[in-house]
Subunit: 371 residues, 2 copies
């Protein structure tokens, strides 16, 4: 039911391409998974995502357990049927969000007690409960419940969180009942190389169809994040997919791909779009800048996305300034197209064994303006 | 360049169908024009509007003159080119908005001095300036500058506003220079039949390709609004299109069509959608109602719109509750489809000379729940 096949590897680095088979079809790796936090990749329809070449999307257990609740999604036939997306999906476990989005939490070995940001009600999320909800939601890939400390956590706190994450990974695997879902446990250990190594050893000792690297994009520097990847990736089994959680800036993804990472998710492309920022080959830009007001060119000259093929920078700028929803939609389409296309090009380069050249060339152009 | 042809008339009432030819193609009447206030029909792309069967859209001079300004739109090739809509368009004159959306206004025979709601800057809008801006914007149909009093205006104030509207209609016609735009003058007179009659006589005495009925949807009752239509419509020349400004509730439109109205615009379908309300054959509904939480049916069972053919009421409810932009998009698509389809059915019924039967049947079902 689940199968990961490596298609090509670029032996000049650790980059590889592959395909992961799920009950809802397969997706190519390296893959970027747009975030459909509350069951909708913000502003877009499932058909638009398909047209963008998106093959897998993600949803959040934390948000969906609070509203509408796992029971309702289950009653409506599961996440995919309910939201009209018939391709592969992944749900996170709620671990990260419990620590980043909720208040008044108590953590013990059983789980996390937190206050709902919606109505202040108290909830207890445990590994068992997270898995039960993820089984109600019904995504193809589900995640173990983990404790995700901030980047500035002291080593002793990071160690404690890692040990709890290990225990909860085991509990998550034990709690899992459905056979048509693949559960990925999560490696923690913050910015401490020895903890990260210990965590890889423990987590990869569990028999799982894939492994995730958590505890990144939580406030650490880009250098610290890359050090984590360089510590962890060489120790991971080659035949299993690796998911780097929460990462989606173009430069970070290219660095991670070189280390052998296969899956990514990040709110950056969709969130930046709603705030009026877009990427093109020359870096990231704020569309509200005055210089764009009479530009009749698309925001990226060689881009084939719907926004670029139909609308000028001038009009997109106007829509964003006026807070018109269409502006958020069109920049979202462009930013997702940009990332998905970057991974498409990356896969091609890996197959041609030219990934490092490709990556260097892309980044030199991407950063040219800032330098 | 402009031509209005009546295709069919239902002699049981005053309803008729027609086609209005403009430089950007023709549209069938009775027509509903979705509001693209700031150059975007809220949440939708031009292609989605085309797919809905929409043939003409409207934009607002008041909003576009303040941002980005007529010069920029002109520089970008005019409204249609800039927003990517290649069909017919209409711009209003800013008259209505100056009175309803701005502050600290002074009105004299020259025009209206008002404060921009964006930055408090003082602007003077005159008939000449409104026409100049509408020529920069470049829509096919443009409107005379008018004074639009509230429904509770005393008769003396309504008379003064009407007389000014007449003088400004003349000034608007004189100021017009472009030959590829049709200017419609506007009938005022509030709820006073004798003023309305006087206004029709004056306005239809001006040689114009179409006439508009203004000063409705400004706080009067449905009965008062219908009385206005019944007073005005019989006095209008049959061979010219009639545009009832600001009206778009299904029952009001059917009543107006029976009187011989040809064109409508209203923010109701798009605004209601963003606030979670939708129409179906059984009236208007609030999608956030608890009863919809596990409904796996579309919001209208026999509807062919994208929202109804792809998504359940349960999911749409969730999107609206979560303030997900996709929810606003999908309800907007449905509500516009509902109105555009209602006018499509109306045209068919008029051609079959069964409009009154059709209208009665539609309304009895539409109001069944409320009775």
């Amino acid at each position: 039911m689940f199968e990961f096949n490596i298609i090509a590897a670029d032996l000049n680095c650790s980059a590889r391409t592959g395909a992961f088979q799920t009950p809802h079809g397969s997706f190519e790796t390296p893959a970027f998974m747009p975030c459909g936090t509350k069951g909708s990749v913000k502003t877009l329809t499932p058909d638009e995502l398909k047209n963008l070449g998106c093959e897998i999307i993600l949803a959040n257990t934390f948000h969906l357990m609070l509203r509408p609740g796992g029971e309702i999604v289950e009653k409506m036939g599961g996440l995919q049927r309910w939201i009209g997306w018939d391709g592969p999906m992944l749900t996170d476990s709620g671990g990260f969000q419990v620590f980043s989005l909720s208040k008044l939490r108590k953590i013990n070995d059983e789980g996390v007690t937190f206050q709902s940001p919606l109505d202040g009600a108290t909830h207890l999320l445990t590994p068992e409960k997270s898995i039960a909800i993820q089984e109600q939601l019904g995504a193809d890939i589900i995640m173990a419940f983990d404790e995700c400390p901030p980047a500035d956590a002291e080593k002793s706190a990071a160690k404690k969180a890692m040990e709890r994450t290990h225990a909860w990974a085991l509990k998550s695997l034990k709690a899992k009942q459905r056979k048509d879902q693949a559960l990925f446990p999560i490696i923690q250990g913050a910015i401490y190389p020895d903890l990260r190594k210990e965590s890889v050893r423990y987590i990869t000792g569990l028999d799982a169809p894939g492994y995730a690297i958590g505890g990144v994009a939580v406030g650490e520097t880009k250098e610290q994040m890359r050090e984590v990847m360089e510590t962890v990736c060489p120790l991971l089994p080659k035949e299993k997919p690796r998911y780097l959680m929460g990462i989606g800036e173009p430069d970070d993804m290219l660095a991670a791909i070189a280390c052998g990472v296969d899956m990514f998710d990040c709110v950056a492309p969709t969130r930046l779009a709603r705030h009026g920022s877009f990427w093109n080959n020359h870096g990231r830009h704020d569309i509200t800048k005055k210089e764009f007001s009479v530009s009749d060119q698309p925001i990226q000259s060689d881009c084939e996305c719907y926004a670029c093929s139909r609308f000028s920078t001038s009009y997109l700028r106007h829509l964003i300034i006026e807070k018109e929803i269409l502006g958020a939609r069109l920049l979202t389409i462009h930013n997702l197209h940009f990332l998905i296309d970057l991974l498409r090009q990356s896969r091609k380069a890996i197959e041609a064994k030219t990934f490092q050249t490709f990556s260097k060339k892309f980044l030199s152009e991407f950063y040219a303006k800032e330098r």
